[in-house]
Every structure is written in structure tokens, then in C-alpha cells.
Symmetry: C2
DNA sequence: TAAAATACTAGACTGTGGTCTAATATTAAT
DNA sequence: ATTAATATTAGACCACAGTCTAGTATTTTA
């Protein structure tokens, strides 16, 4: 190993020590109970090192979320091909929910959802999800090609509707303390939305029967 | 005025001074930019007084939300009676969104949604909304009586689905920086959900065609 | 190999929301 | 009217995430 690697190595090792210890502590005592000072004490490093390697306490916790994209791609590959595109969307979304529940966990999801809304630096949330967004968008495009969407919505409307639905499912599950699985609580909304897309709406109904709004 | 009123008065006046000045500052410079020290300076009070009258900085901002319930009841009274119950739900929900957008504003909604998910003290969010929840539940019950719900969902499923949808709409709007109105971005999801409720689902489809999940 | 540039580390310091305690004002009890 | 109980106020203090600066180690340039 040459000098260059050695040099990077010092940092990499420190970073790794911090990351490991931090995640260990978060797991043991919960994210909110663990302080940065504790992490640097346990990992025998310093404030300076901590913030050299991580931009915030949250980022180190959120780091776990980076495997998500990888997994989404995996899920999408394993979807039976004989399903309609809309059914694929439902199937895929439910698998995503299952993954978030079982592999990521409620506490992490809460931290993700709260940091996304409490600051304008939700770049991560929006960007890191790109693969998720792209996968969904691709399905929608195909659904349009196959004429599966019959309620007159545009691609963007369908897309936004789905994202709103998924976010609503996760947010609602996040603030509730019951132990029902995310997949289970999310299934009805997803189904209803998909059915909504499939069902031709009476144009007269939506423009004349309810003219007041 | 007797002694008792006088005594309460001192506190009430202080409380009012803090509240007024705080909301004024929040409005002028934004919630996050205003510090508690600034508020007590501007209102000529003290830390002790501030926390005597308010449990947190957020609570003083969230205070504005207390008129919400009142307004929800008002909306529900003014809904045309010749609409179907499901249409009423859609109408009502859209009016709620309109109110939250125009009267409450995005910053307040973000603070509400972030404090609800970042601590377990979201009692307020859940409880203060009771009237909203009750109104929606009542509509749903009537919709069931009128046989408007044809997709086989239980009352709780319909209820949860709607709440998830509404929360999703608000959350999604909250993290996005575009200026589209909440009502406008929420309309498609609400419509799709309602259509989903109305549309009989093929029972065989949901239990046999997709047995793998 | 000397000098310059860069990465890394340590820990003092800051900003800010929130707590605690002691003092004072007000009300209630006797 | 005295005393006890309670509400209110002031501001020192604490906790904790995050910043800043000075110093050290490593790498690159020449």
C-alpha cells in the first residue's frame, strides 16, 4: 500500500469506527437518547473528526438508508412479468413498504421523515429516492402505453398521486404507536388508488355535477 | 374585579404579550429564525414567564392551529346536502386543504407535521384533530348506510385510507417548494381514493390472481 | 529532501431550546 | 390580620448539536 492509501486509510478507519459505534449505540439506546459526545467517547475520536466525516448526527443514522436504492432495484427485477403494469406498481410499492418496515425500521423512517420536513435540506430524501421514483415512473409510462390508466389523469398526476399515497402511508404509520405492519396498513390505500386509475370517470359527473368547486 | 381575577390577570397579560409578539416575529422573520430569547426581549418578559405559559417554542406557533377545529365544523355545516356522502367527503377534504393552505400556511403545517413525527408528544395533532376525525367518520358511516362503499372495505379501512391520503397530500406539499395550491395538488389523490371506494372489486382478482403477496 | 498543500484530529467555544431555583406577588385559610 | 398555599417572574444554568481554530500527520510538488 502506497502513501496515498495510507493517508486515506487514517480517515477511513476513523470514519468506520464512528459509524460502527454510533449505529451500535443507536440500536441499543435509541437515536434520540444518544448524544454526539457519547459517540465520540465510545469511538475514541473527537468532535472535529466526527464532523469531518459526517455532516450531522442525523446523517450517520440515515446512512443506513443508502442500501434502500439497491434493494428497490432488486425488488423491481423480481416482479412477475405476467402482471399488468398497475398491478406491478401495487406489488412493488407493497414490497417497498415491507422493506422499509422490516429492514429500515420505524425509528429510522421517523428520522428520515422528520428531517425531510423540518429543513430544506431534504435533498437526500428526494435525491436518494431517485431510483425509487424512476422505477415507479417507468411502470406508469408502461401503464399508459398499455392503456391501463382510464380515469383521464396525466402521467404527472398519476405519479404525484402515488407518491402522496406512499408518503401518507409511511407518515401515518410513523406517528402511530401500534405495531401493525406497514405493508398491511398500506395495502388498502394503494389498492384504492390503483382502482381509481383503472376506473373511467364520468366526465360529466366531474365537471357538472359538482360545479361549485 | 376581585382579587382572584386580578391575580389571573397578571399572568394572562404576560401570556398575551408573549403570544402576540411571538406570532408577530414569526410572521416577520419566519419561525426558525426567531429565538426564544428574542421573543422574551421583544415582549419584555423572561424565560421563566415564557415557559410558565407555554410548554415549548413550537407550541406557541402551533397555537394558531386551534382555530382549525372550529373551522372544520363550519365547513361541514355548509356542505350542500344533495351530494352523496362520498362526494361530501371529497368536498369537505378539499375545503380543509384549502383552509390549511390559505389560513394556516405552509410553514405552520411543516412545524405541525415535523413535531408530530419527531416526538411522541403528538397528542395535540391527534387530539386537536378529533373534530376533523369525527366529521370524516360520520360521513363514512352514512356512506356505509347508503351503500355507497362497494369495494368491500371495512369502516376502519375506509377511515384510515382517507387519513393516510390527506396526510400524504399535506406532507408531500410540505416538503416541496413549488407554489401549487394544496387543494389543487390534493384533488387527484382524493378523487382516486373515492372512486376506489365506489368501485366493486372482483373478489377473485384480489385473492387468487395475486396470491404471492 | 524541502516546501507547500491537503487531510485529519483535538477540543474549546457558540447558539439555542429548555430546566431549575430563588424571590416576589397574589390568593385562600384560619 | 397572619399564615400557608399557589401563581408568577427573573435569570442563572444545563444539554447538546454544531462551528471554529490551531496544530499534526500525510501527501504532493519541485
Amino acid at each position: 500500500m502506497n502513501k496515498r492509501e495510507n493517508k486515506q486509510l487514517r480517515g477511513v478507519i476513523t470514519r468506520e469506527k464512528i459509524l460502527t459505534k454510533a449505529l451500535e449505540l443507536f440500536k441499543k439506546r435509541g437515536y434520540n437518547k444518544v448524544t454526539v459526545d457519547e459517540i465520540i467517547l465510545a469511538s475514541e475520536t473527537s468532535k472535529g473528526s466526527f464532523y469531518q466525516h459526517f455532516p450531522s448526527k442525523a446523517s450517520i443514522f440515515l446512512y443506513q438508508f443508502s442500501k434502500a436504492d439497491e434493494y428497490y432495484t432488486e425488488i423491481s427485477k423480481n416482479i412477475p412479468n405476467d402482471l399488468s403494469e398497475l398491478t406491478k406498481i401495487e406489488y412493488f410499492s407493497l414490497e417497498v413498504l415491507d422493506f422499509l418496515d422490516k429492514d429500515m425500521g420505524k425509528e429510522l423512517m421517523r428520522v428520515i421523515y422528520s428531517s425531510a420536513i423540518e429543513s430544506n435540506e431534504h435533498t437526500f430524501f428526494i435525491n436518494a429516492n431517485r431510483p425509487l421514483f424512476k422505477i415507479i415512473r417507468t411502470y406508469i409510462e408502461k401503464a399508459f402505453s398499455n392503456n391501463e390508466i382510464k380515469n383521464g389523469y396525466s402521467l404527472d398526476e398519476v405519479y404525484t398521486t402515488l407518491i402522496q399515497g406512499i408518503m401518507g402511508i409511511i407518515y401515518h404509520w410513523g406517528i402511530n404507536n401500534n405495531i401493525t405492519s406497514l405493508k398491511q396498513v398500506g395495502q388498502p390505500l394503494l389498492s384504492a388508488i390503483i382502482i381509481g386509475f383503472k376506473t373511467p370517470s364520468n366526465i360529466i359527473t366531474s365537471t357538472e355535477e359538482k360545479p361549485s368547486y
